[in-house]
Symmetry: C2
Subunit: 129 residues, 2 copies
DNA sequence: CGGTATCCGATAGGATACTG
DNA sequence: CAGTATCCTATCGGATACCG
């Protein structure tokens, strides 16, 4: 039985790892907003900064580097003066769309569910009063 | 044109909110492991504690409360002595399975992609040496 | 058994100033 | 323009002790 439990555990880990990978790639306050901003076409640092409302240069810089390391964003530098840097989504980032759609759909469904629960609780409170 | 930009922004926010909701529900180091543990059937606090490797009582308690508030986990108390508390997944949590599957699939795909990029970089380094 | 209370270090992220 | 450096706060999560 010990063997069985260990097997169950390692199976869990194997299942969990790719899910964690995916969540980690999307996690953080600004990654999604940045990705969405870039879906409208390639943009320069300053443009993204203006379109993603509230992001600081520091965070934008950091998150863009993260996304680039994950192969979702391409950084291109033009050696003009001043330097012009443009960011764009990679082909690989296309594969994210299904995931994002799944998250969005569930997010909407979930909100409905919470409202439903809420109104059920309300009616219980009402009937108790 | 200002109007257009504002419209674009609010549309982004509308798209982003449910995605963030979904991500927030799954976020945290222990939520997924706990959910997976409970897919094998309803379990007691101590059982989950043992099966989810490395989690502390504090975190388990907190995350279970979070999951319950989000309507994904049901907490049932039996008034025996000592008290027996069992946790189980709700019907609503079933709807998560598609999302988790999407995340897992993409996580696996993404790992392949990173390996591919890596080997491409390697061959560039090799050809440069 | 099923937690809570307290403390602590690590990390995420914001504000501001500065640079090639 | 496209960032970096520095500092600061808040939240996350671990360790340990305790409780009904």
């Amino acid at each position: 039985m010990k063997k069985q439990e260990e097997k169950e555990h390692s199976e869990c880990m194997g299942i969990l790892r790719p899910i964690r990978d995916a969540l980690d790639v999307l996690n953080g306050k600004w990654k999604l907003p940045i990705i969405v901003a870039l879906t409208f076409g390639e943009k320069r640092f300053g443009e993204i900064s203006r379109e993603v409302n509230g992001v600081t240069d520091r965070m934008l810089s950091k998150e863009l580097r993260d996304l680039e390391l994950n192969g979702l964003v391409k950084r291109r530098v033009e050696n003009t003066y001043p330097v012009k840097v443009t960011y764009s989504l990679t082909p690989h980032s296309e594969s994210l769309k299904t995931v994002i759609a799944a998250l969005r759909d569930w997010g909407l469904l979930h909100r409905q569910e919470l409202l439903k629960e809420c109104s059920e609780k309300d009616s219980i409170v009402e009937s108790a009063s």
